[in-house]
């Protein structure tokens, strides 16, 4: 019962907030904070005796009988940490808005709570209908958060954000309905159930079309090069809280969706498309880093760095071996902490100076030593210094990619996309991230304190330190003791890969009905590239 509780508790909070008069700002803030904290505490209840490999805490309630829609939730090692990341960040973010959001406090808190429900529900959904509903639910509050509490070009950014996302998600809806119908054709039952539909095997061409539809929705969300241009606008215009949630959680739905739906549903298409995905993600790593280096707006710089970081995630996913995918999932968490932390930190300085232009700053270390220390640690976490959160994910993705030639099917369709070459190019991201992040850091904190408007800046207050303390703690924890997280991630990833390797062996001829993979595995799983080549 934990899962529906954490899914709907924020929504209950939102409803409650509607009853409180809008003038009672401190009560509104307190109530919202209470609900997010309560959600976090309850979500911690998932941790004891967690079995990463299988879905646990599953609930399965019938919702719309005629359509075969069940309210079906469950959590495994992949979604566990993402859910906890969400519930962990929400109270921090709400707490941090205490000083920055002053207009329409009630509406803001409601939007944030609805958003939280949407995000948690999307991570937990084991029914494609429910998944889609939650997926769309979280779009709406985000639209308002950018559009109402954003910067000068907030309307443009929010519309761009919504339209971009909608294009992808509508195609995904079509694909969901397609599998739904094809499953009915084959079995005469109507269901949106994740487990049932994930056993549907379509013909290779059908898989390709569906994969492209799903893939586009997720690629936009990630965002994968070249579908990323909504991100800088959305980030720059969104208020701090919106940017943090956008970067830390919302982007992860793209990569989570790829891993949870696109990969296991359409394995043959995945095999065909993996080289393209990998090339796009490697381009994203280099391209995102370089474009970040050219920015003069701090937030935009971090936004483009997200393109690079998420490139590592998609690269890991497209290698379909346990190390790389573990690394990808890990990188999702690490990016949530480091980039979320960076946006929070930028929010601090924006609140004081109302500018994000890099040339306005310099020498801040002299007046804000605490802030400098916090920013430094988060920066180092972001560039992947060992001992901090960023390293483990990047390392695993690189090691997994480098060794992927054993399982990767093709040399590459466009040109010779050997995994080793991809790994080498991706690893230049390690250099480039240091180039732009240290440039940013130096321009902000080192050098003479020449701008008179920076002279009187106040250092972090205790309240702000309280916002950053848990972020820093997690940055160190993720870096120093990855076992905590990997022990749940790894079994789930292995299960996903095992199912994938069974399913990819089933081939359905074009024009035939879909088949259902038997429960508990199909034909002998594929282990090596050579075997796969034989079968294709």
């Amino acid at each position: 019962m934990i899962l529906p509780l954490i899914t709907f508790l924020p929504l209950v909070g939102a409803l409650l907030l509607m009853l409180i008069p809008r003038e009672e700002e401190s009560i509104l803030r307190g109530t919202a904070l209470f609900f997010t904290l309560a959600t976090f505490v309850i979500s911690l209840g998932l941790l004891p005796d967690f079995d990463g490999a299988n879905f646990s805490h599953v609930i399965d309630w019938t919702w719309i009988e005629a359509l075969g829609v069940h309210f079906h939730l469950g959590v495994d090692g992949i979604s566990l940490w993402l859910v906890l990341l969400t519930t962990f960040l929400m109270p921090i973010v709400l707490f941090s808005t205490g000083t920055s959001i002053t207009k329409k406090v009630r509406e803001f808190a409601i939007a944030m709570l609805v958003l939280e429900s949407g995000m948690i529900g999307t991570f937990l959904a084991l029914d494609l209908f429910v998944f889609y509903v939650f997926w769309e639910i979280m779009l709406i509050p985000m639209y308002f958060i950018i559009g109402i509490w954003g910067g000068d070009r907030r309307v443009y950014a929010s519309i761009k954000f919504v339209l971009y996302t909608m294009v992808g998600s509508l195609l995904m809806l079509v694909a969901i309905i397609y599998i739904y119908v094809r499953h009915h054709d084959a079995s005469n039952t109507w269901t949106f159930d994740y487990f049932t539909l994930s056993r549907v095997v379509l013909s290779t061409r059908e898989q390709m079309y569906c994969f492209l539809a799903f893939g586009l929705a997720f690629a936009i969300k990630v965002p994968l090069f070249p579908f990323h241009t909504w991100l800088p606008d959305a980030h720059v215009e969104a208020p701090t809280a919106g940017s943090v949630i956008l970067a830390a959680v919302l982007l992860k739905f793209g990569t989570y969706g790829l891993l949870r739906f696109a990969m296991p549903f359409f394995p043959r298409a995945m095999v065909e498309m993996a080289p393209y995905l990998a090339i796009a993600s490697v381009i994203g790593i280099v391209y995102g880093s370089l474009v970040a280096f050219a920015q003069t707006d701090i937030k935009k710089m971090i936004a483009y760095s997200s393109v690079a970081h998420l490139g590592f995630v998609v690269l890991g996913l497209s290698m379909w071996n346990a190390k790389a995918i573990d690394g990808a999932v890990y990188q999702m968490l690490a990016h949530g902490i480091s980039t979320g932390g960076l946006f929070l930190a930028i929010g601090v300085i924006y609140e004081r100076r109302h500018t994000r232009r890099l040339e306005e700053f310099g020498g801040l270390m002299a007046v804000m030593p605490r802030y400098t220390a916090v920013f430094m640690i988060i920066t180092l976490a972001s560039v992947g210094l060992p001992g901090l959160s960023g390293f483990v994910g990047e390392f695993l993705v690189l090691v997994g990619t480098f060794g992927a030639y054993k399982t990767w099917p093709h040399g590459g369709p466009i040109f010779y996309a050997h995994p080793k070459i991809l790994a080498v190019v991706a690893a230049t991201g390690v250099i480039l991230s240091a180039v732009y992040m240290l440039y940013l850091f130096q321009k902000m904190f080192f050098g003479p304190l020449s701008n008179p408007r920076n002279r009187g800046l106040k250092d972090l207050s205790n309240r702000e330190l309280a916002v950053f303390a848990p972020m820093l703690l997690m940055a160190f924890w993720l870096g120093l003791y990855p076992s905590t997280f990997l022990s749940a991630i790894d079994p789930a990833v292995r299960r996903t890969i095992a199912e994938f390797q069974h399913k990819v062996m089933i081939k359905v001829p074009e024009g035939e009905k879909a088949r259902l993979m038997p429960e508990g595995g199909g034909p002998e799983p594929v282990k090596h590239k050579e075997e796969l080549d034989d079968k294709f």
Binding site: N188, T229, L290, F391, G403, T428, D490, P518, G522, P523
Partner: protein
């Protein structure tokens, strides 16, 4: 494998660092100093007691404190184990010993600095990271320390952060080091994809795999070695990645002595020796190391000859001496039965260099301390009268680095020169490659190093004479302020000078005094000696030649600089102004990198952003949006609100649909027929279905009736 609580060795300084950084400002300088010094001293004591155990038996000590799984993903199982063998014990002693001395020195040198506690925090953090680097039992653990020391180097170079130049130097160091880290990371990924392990101790059992041909007929070990070498050239400032080290002198002098001379920069040498079994598979990799080392040694030494900044000269000297160590690592002897290399010589030189170079840097610090921060040697002179202790210790260290018998530099430099002279990377043969690698290359490298040694003696004594002899060339006011440094600094200088004189006696070659090579004996369980057959006569021949080269360098320096800049110097500079400028400006390598890499990177970034991102990609997006708007604006005129128009439109549409359905329906009529046959019993269709199933997909028995596979 013996247990020993090794984890305290890095944890003590790390705890000290945490304390200094978090509470230093609150508790004050005295307590900060006490904590920082005690933590380093404590870990030094632990190292000492561990070394005593190693002295009794060479079995490596291990620590299972961290041995619980660190990263476990798929088939990758990493534990963060620490181990101390005789090789790492040498490094540990240098790091804690010299590190402690420099801590003491810094407590005097930095006494009046605002960031005193921050400085000691960073310094302790460095100690911890360096000890992790040295103690790690696998590449990832070493990498943690490797990046950690890089971070501390960055923080300490930019310690006086309010100057843009310092911040730039720090960033340059970090980014260039990251290029090296890129190599190290890929080396790890490659090694794991080949062998499935990253532990040093397990490497020898995978030599077969590493020896397999990878690409272009070259073994995997070659590519692995090159990737490691990229990492090593970054950290140890070798061509082409040496450019960060001279700039790193922007940091406080104790940092230059500790990080950028004695310890961190030797990490590349250490890692190469650590992974020596992998290099030995394909000795030509070792030849590449030796060539890079020799070229760097000579190149940096020639730059050092004309520099005017006290610390810059020492920095180029460090680059050059690290080149010597690389030659030592790479001086292999490849016989059909075995491959050995001069690792012992390299580590020996690493140790002696740590003493005399730390002594030189701290001496430079003492001089600059006396001159209120002045580092330009053209404004010094005659300091020996004012700074007797600094002068005496500096002279001893200069003699040591110049390789004058019997100081430490003589023995260790000779070990490397002899190793290079004896090196042969291929067994003797008649083919072109064999002749080159077995006969010529060793001799060429030996001659390069000999020239470098002469150069080294010259620029070190040029520095010495210009600073300590002749007349003072600064202002009178500066002259009045000159004072010898406090005892905490001069005491350390004397300890280091005595070390610079004495440590060489630990490694006197066996041909000179039988059983005199205690150092080689100590390392023997880890790395064998280079299997050179050298007689006492050969040794002394080489020694005399080397001494001659050094003496020539010193003599020339005395002739030209004993009384300040002599007329000959001015005449030469005036006669060859372009050569002078070319060398003085460090061959314009920084400018070259700037023009070829740094600036283009900026342009590419800007171009990608403005042209590709804003114009093409986002432009396309906005175009789609704009088109939608335009279409909407046009089509809205169809919504006239007049019912007549709508009816007309409806009729036209209906006619179109009807016409099309007749047309298409006619063509595809048979499809309707087939669709109708779906209604027929499915059992009849089953055989046909089996028929179209492709051959080798293992199909499970199909259940008739619904087309499901169960």
């Amino acid at each position: 494998m013996e247990e020993f609580p090794l984890h305290y060795i890095p944890l003590l300084p790390l705890a000290g660092a945490a304390f200094c950084l978090l509470f230093g400002k609150r508790v004050g300088k005295t307590i900060t100093t006490a904590v920082a010094l005690c933590s380093v001293f404590g870990s030094g004591l632990l190292v000492a007691s561990a070394v005593r155990l190693l002295h009794e038996s060479p079995v490596p000590l291990t620590d299972t404190f961290f041995s619980a799984t660190w990263i476990s993903a798929g088939d990758l199982q990493l534990s963060a184990g620490l181990t101390l063998d005789r090789l790492s014990s040498v490094l540990c002693m240098i790091v804690t010993g010299i590190g402690f001395l420099i801590h003491v020195y810094a407590s005097g040198y930095m006494a009046h600095d605002e960031g005193y506690t921050r400085f000691f925090g960073y310094l302790n953090l460095f100690m911890g990271a360096m000890l992790i680097l040295v103690l790690g039992d696998s590449m990832p653990v070493t990498f943690v320390g490797w990046e950690g020391v890089g971070l501390c180097s960055y923080l300490l170079i930019g310690f006086w952060y309010d100057k843009e130049a310092n911040a730039n130097a720090g960033r340059k160091a970090f980014v260039v080091n990251r290029i090296g880290d890129f190599g190290f990371l890929l080396a790890m990924a490659y090694l794991f994809s080949l062998t499935g392990t990253l532990k040093y101790a397990e490497l020898p059992s995978h030599l077969q795999t590493l020896g397999q041909t990878a690409w272009w007929g070259l073994p995997a070990a070659f590519f692995f070695g090159i990737l490691v070498l990229v990492g090593a050239t970054g950290k140890s400032a070798q061509i082409p990645l040496y450019v960060w080290l001279p700039d790193a002198m922007a940091g406080p002098t104790p940092v230059s002595a500790l990080i950028h001379a004695a310890t961190m920069v030797t990490a590349g040498v250490y890692v190469c020796v650590r992974l020596h079994v992998a290099f030995e598979i394909f000795p030509l990799t070792l030849a590449i190391i030796a060539i890079i080392g020799a070229l760097t040694a000579l190149f940096a030494a020639t730059i050092g000859v004309l520099q005017r900044d006290f610390k810059k000269v020492l920095a180029y000297s460090t680059v050059s001496q690290l080149g010597f160590m690389f030659v030592g690592v790479g001086s292999a002897i490849n016989t059909p039965t075995s491959v050995t290399s001069n690792y012992q010589g390299a580590i020996f030189h690493l140790m002696t260099h740590a003493f005399f170079k730390a002594g030189l840097f701290l001496g430079a610090g003492s001089v600059m301390h006396a001159l209120s921060g002045e580092g330009d040697i053209t404004r010094m002179g005659g300091l020996r009268k004012h700074l007797p202790h600094t002068h005496a210790t500096f002279l001893l260290c200069c003699l040591a680095i110049a390789g004058i018998i019997p100081l430490s530099g003589f023995w260790s430099k000779d070990a490397i020169l002899g190793g290079a002279h004896a090196a042969m990377w291929l067994p003797k043969g008649t083919g072109g490659a064999e002749v080159f690698f077995a006969h010529h290359l060793g001799l060429i490298l030996y001659l390069i190093l000999l020239a470098t040694a002469a150069c080294t003696a010259f620029y070190m004594f040029r520095l010495y004479f210009l600073a300590f002899w002749g007349e003072f060339r600064g202002t009178d006011e500066e002259l009045h302020h000159i004072h010898e440094s406090p005892a905490s600094m001069t005491g350390v200088l004397w300890v280091l000078a005595i070390g610079a004189v004495g440590v060489g006696f630990l490694g006197i070659p066996d041909v000179v005094s039988s059983g005199g090579n205690h150092f080689g004996e100590w390392l023997l369980p880890v790395v064998r000696e280079q299997a050179a057959e050298e007689s006492a006569r050969e040794f002394w021949t080489l020694a005399v030649i080397a001494l001659g080269a050094s003496a020539a360098g010193i003599g020339l320096a005395a002739a030209l600089y004993l009384h300040g800049f002599s007329d000959q110097v001015r005449a030469m500079a005036a006669a060859f102004p372009s050569v002078y400028k070319f060398v003085y400006n460090k061959y314009y390598i920084d400018e070259f990198y700037n023009a070829v890499i740094v600036q283009p990177l900026r342009w590419i970034s800007l171009g990608l952003w403005k042209v590709v991102d804003s114009f093409f990609i986002d432009g396309t997006v906005r175009l789609v949006g704009g088109l939608t708007l335009v279409v909407g604006k046009v089509v809205r005129y169809a919504q006239t609100g007049d019912v007549h128009h709508y009816v007309a439109g409806m009729l036209a549409g209906a006619a179109l649909v009807f016409g099309l359905s007749v047309q298409l329906g006619g063509c595809h009529g048979y499809k309707f027929a087939e669709a109708a046959s779906v209604a027929t019993p499915r059992l009849q269709r089953m055989p046909r279905r089996e028929h179209v199933t492709p051959d080798n997909v293992p199909l499970l028995p199909a259940v008739p009736g619904n087309g499901l596979i169960r």
